[in-house]
């Protein structure tokens, strides 16, 4: 529970209707889309202005209580899981588009604006906002900034980091930082790069300026069906090696293809062990040339089926199966646990094989549908949460996948963030000295460590407790690996 004193302070600073204290009002906020670990917030504040945000920051700082910021609550790593003794600051009502500047090709918006809305308002100028996480219809841009969200089109157009050019950030100590803007460079340290992906631990973003790009004139989608998952994985590396950067390059394994077909009947080759979807966009000449190249590479890798979609309707149909993959997975099992490891592309084939082996060992199904071009895996572990053994098995299975990603030169999270979900694996990926450096950075903005405590960066004690395999006398885990 939040202290009476802090609550009194909030009521003194804010209108009553933005403060939610009753259990039934707070329950919808007890988790984000990572529902494994829930917590009832001490109090919820639905901010309606930047002034409200300032007030909340001031009260949390003066009363020395935790502050968790939340957007749409679609995050998959528990980054917005509330704190029982703190304030949950919800920014979804701060959703105005403040400006679209067609000459600069930028849009300036409030953090609660949904990702998709930016592209909608940019459309009349022939522009769009490129990063498109699968939750883009609901997720807010503030959350995208906090998690450095990705999506299907990040292979060519970059992550949130590459598409955010300016931020206004309020720190818990009451400072306002105006970072970046419409210039291409600026004085001082790149605090903008530091803020993106900082999981709400350094400040609260109140204004975001994003880069807009011209909507591509032409778009093609190539589907390739393969008889072997590993060969399909190698084909991904082959496409990139041929000098093509597709707009999107996605892979689905046999189970995912079947699930999607049952759900939406899009006409994927059901006998294929893996399907690649490759989107090519740009000028007409560019798309024609790269489509030929990719089709040629698919042939070299013995694709059993190659299908080309050139009109928008056909393209949509081919994408539909990919888009319904997650809800389709929901039909395959009572629950699924979506992982987010990132690996070098040349490891896709071998890692998928390893995951199949783990699946047999844990006796739990797994479905793979992921951003192959980025080497960003999303294994969906199928389980039944009401069965304690399966629940624990799924968590262990997931952790083993992440450890394996580190082992092959990858990372524990490509685009979902660490949150509470992967906090223990941080101790595997980083040395104590590196984690201590993260804490020193945190202190630059929040010396009392009240911003989103318990998330993203584990305490040194937690890493030490996790056991001898991790860090010994400053030695990195897996010291023989260069771990870049």
């Amino acid at each position: 529970m939040i202290s009476e004193f802090a609550l009194t302070q909030l009521y003194a600073e804010l209108p009553e209707h933005v403060i939610l204290t009753d259990q039934y009002q707070k329950e919808p906020f007890e988790s984000d889309a990572y529902t494994v670990k829930k917590e009832l917030p001490g109090v919820v504040v639905l901010a309606e202005s930047v002034g409200h945000v300032r007030s909340v920051l001031r009260v949390c700082n003066e009363c020395d209580i935790p502050l968790v910021t939340r957007g749409a609550g679609t995050g998959l790593s528990g980054g917005a899981r509330p704190h029982r003794e703190g304030v949950l600051l919800v920014l979804s009502k701060l959703n105005s588009v403040l400006e679209v500047d067609p000459l600069a090709c930028t849009a300036t918006v409030e953090p609660g604006t949904t990702n998709l809305r930016i592209s909608e308002v940019a459309k009349e100028h022939g522009l769009f906002y490129a990063p498109d996480p699968s939750s883009q219809i609901a997720c807010s841009i503030g959350g995208n900034v906090a998690e450095n969200a990705g999506g299907v089109h990040c292979l060519k157009y970059g992550l949130t980091l590459h598409n955010v050019v300016g931020l206004t950030v309020l720190t818990i100590e009451g400072d306002e930082l105006v970072l970046g803007g419409k210039t291409y460079d600026w004085e001082g340290y790149d605090f903008l790069a530091l803020m993106v992906g900082s999981e709400g631990m350094l400040g609260v973003v109140t204004e975001i300026t994003v880069k807009l790009l011209p909507i591509p004139a032409v778009r093609h989608v190539l589907l390739g069906g393969f008889d072997d998952v590993e060969i399909a994985g190698n084909c991904v590396a082959g496409i990139i090696a041929a000098g093509v950067i597709p707009g999107g390059l996605e892979m689905m394994d046999e189970l995912a293809v079947h699930a999607a077909e049952e759900f939406a009947e899009v006409g994927y080759p059901k006998d294929a062990k893996a399907v690649l979807l490759c989107e090519l966009d740009g000028t007409e000449e560019e798309v024609t040339s790269t489509t030929d190249k990719v089709a040629e590479v698919m042939k070299q890798y013995d694709a059993s089926v190659i299908e080309l979609a050139t009109d928008p309707e056909q393209c949509e149909r081919l994408w539909l199966g990919r888009k319904v993959a997650f809800p389709a997975a929901g039909r395959m099992a009572a629950d699924f646990y979506c992982m987010d490891g990132s690996i070098p592309r040349y490891q896709i084939g071998p890692v998928l094989k390893a995951i199949t082996g783990m699946s047999e060992r844990y006796n739990l199904g797994v479905m793979n549908v992921f951003h192959a071009g980025d080497g960003n895996l999303h294994p969906l572990i199928l389980y039944d949460a009401s069965d304690k053994n399966q629940r624990e098995g799924a968590e262990q299975f997931g952790a083993e996948i992440l450890e394996h990603c580190i082992r092959v030169g990858g990372t524990i999270t490509g685009e979902h963030g660490v949150g509470v979900e992967k906090i223990d694996q941080m101790c595997s990926q980083f040395s104590l000295a590196e984690i201590e450096q993260f804490h020193r950075i945190r202190n630059v903005f929040d010396v009392n460590r009240n911003m989103n405590p318990g998330k993203a960066i584990p305490t040194l004690a937690r890493c030490s407790e996790l056991g001898g395999m991790h860090v010994h006398k400053g030695q990195m885990p897996f010291p023989e690996l260069s771990r870049f």
Binding site: P102, L103, A104, C105, T106, E147, N148, G150, L155, G158, L161, T171, D175, L177, L179, G181, K182, T183, Y184, D185, G188, Y189, D190, F191, A193, L194, S198, P214, A237, G243, I245, T283, E286, S289, S342, P344, H371, D374, N376, G409, G410, T411, I412, E415, G417, V418, M426, S431, A433, E434, I435, Q437, R442, V444, A456, G474, E480, S482, R483, F484
Partner: protein, 343 residues
């Protein structure tokens, strides 16, 4: 763990014990930009060089900081790839470490992004003498704060950069460059059309009444766009390298040169002014180079800008100077790296 980091790590630890500040430099190609104390001993990273890992099919290369940019260009070009942010070589000796520390990039900045955009991971020595690794060598990585990218443009104030993993891009298969005589308003009209459509445009530069344009990409796409410029003068593509490395005649005299970063929407039409004696604009009108003996013309200060004096170095007080100071101490509590350089 790369054992060859020991000499530099030992040098830092000795400096920490003796409380002896150090000035970090690669080959010194950008020493004219250095604003710190030049009397302190030099910590040279130039011998810490070479490729650690290069997998062309991954579009990622990991190199030691002392590797020369010219060498990096050669190696990646063999595989038809490039480090797209294209940092200046200046006198030809520029290193990867120097390019990251300065954060400077070439004429393709608006299309290809900046140095930090392609920085996937780093290995560094902080002011505690610890060898640390941040980021990685994969395209997507959101584990921990993005320290790797924070080092872009940090001017060696946070630690000694040891090696970096860089994202590469396929080099364009075809390039054409032309020059056309236009006034600045006509430049704005022309270039603003390109910002709304998919195009192969990847370089613009305006000075002396001429607009220089570069088109790169798939041959058929470039050639199609070139049809609009059939009557214009074809120029040597070396122009863009000379622009990047400041070897164009424009940069050849000793007058004070100012580098002004303007808003992305300022385009070209705002720069012609009686107060500007000589100027050159690149990055679609957002980067202005101008010569002025004393201070900047007053009209410039009316615009939204970030400014870096080039030969006459001028520093604005950063809005977040309190946090900049704290960040410096978070990495380098004894302030031994590049004393006098303040960001």
């Amino acid at each position: 763990m790369s054992h060859d980091s020991l000499p530099l790590q030992n040098a830092v630890n000795t400096a920490l014990e003796q409380k002896q500040p150090l000035r970090i430099a690669g080959e010194g190609s950008k020493s004219f930009l250095y604003t710190g104390d030049t009397t302190v001993p030099l910590l040279a990273t130039s011998d810490h060089k070479g490729v650690i890992e290069y997998r062309p099919e991954e579009l990622v290369i990991t190199v030691r900081a002392g590797t020369k940019l010219s060498e990096l260009r050669g190696i990646t070009a063999e595989h038809g790839q490039m480090w797209a942010c294209d940092p200046p070589l200046f006198d030809g000796r520029g290193t990867v470490g120097g390019a990251i520390a300065s954060g400077w990039c070439g004429p393709g900045r608006p299309w290809y992004g900046t140095v930090r955009d392609s920085l996937l991971g780093v290995e560094m020595i902080n002011g505690y003498g610890e060898l640390l690794r941040f980021g990685g060598k994969v395209i997507k990585n959101v584990a921990g704060f993005d320290v790797a990218r924070l080092l872009g443009g940090s001017q060696g104030t946070l630690g000694v950069l040891m090696s970096a993993s860089l994202k590469l891009l396929p080099a364009p298969e075809h390039t054409r460059s032309i020059a056309t005589s236009l006034n600045s308003r006509e430049c704005t009209t022309l270039i603003s059309q390109y910002s709304k459509k998919t195009s192969t445009l990847s370089g613009t530069c305006y000075f002396d009444g001429k607009l220089y344009l570069r088109f790169t990409g798939v041959a058929a796409a470039v050639e199609k766009e070139m049809k609009a410029f059939e009557s214009n003068e074809e120029i040597d593509p070396q122009f863009w390298q000379k622009l990047r490395d400041h070897t164009l005649p424009f940069f050849a005299d000793d007058k004070a040169l100012w580098r002004v970063s303007l808003s992305r929407n300022s385009m070209f039409h705002g720069v012609e002014s009686d107060e500007l004696e000589e100027f050159l604009v690149e990055w679609n009108g957002s980067l202005l180079w101008c010569k002025s003996q004393n201070s900047l013309p007053p009209t410039m200060s009316m615009k939204p800008y970030a400014i870096r004096g080039f030969r006459n170095v001028k520093h604005e007080t950063s809005q977040s100077s309190k946090h900049a100071h704290r960040l410096k101490l978070a990495f380098d509590p004894q302030k031994i790296f590049n004393p006098g350089v303040v960001l």
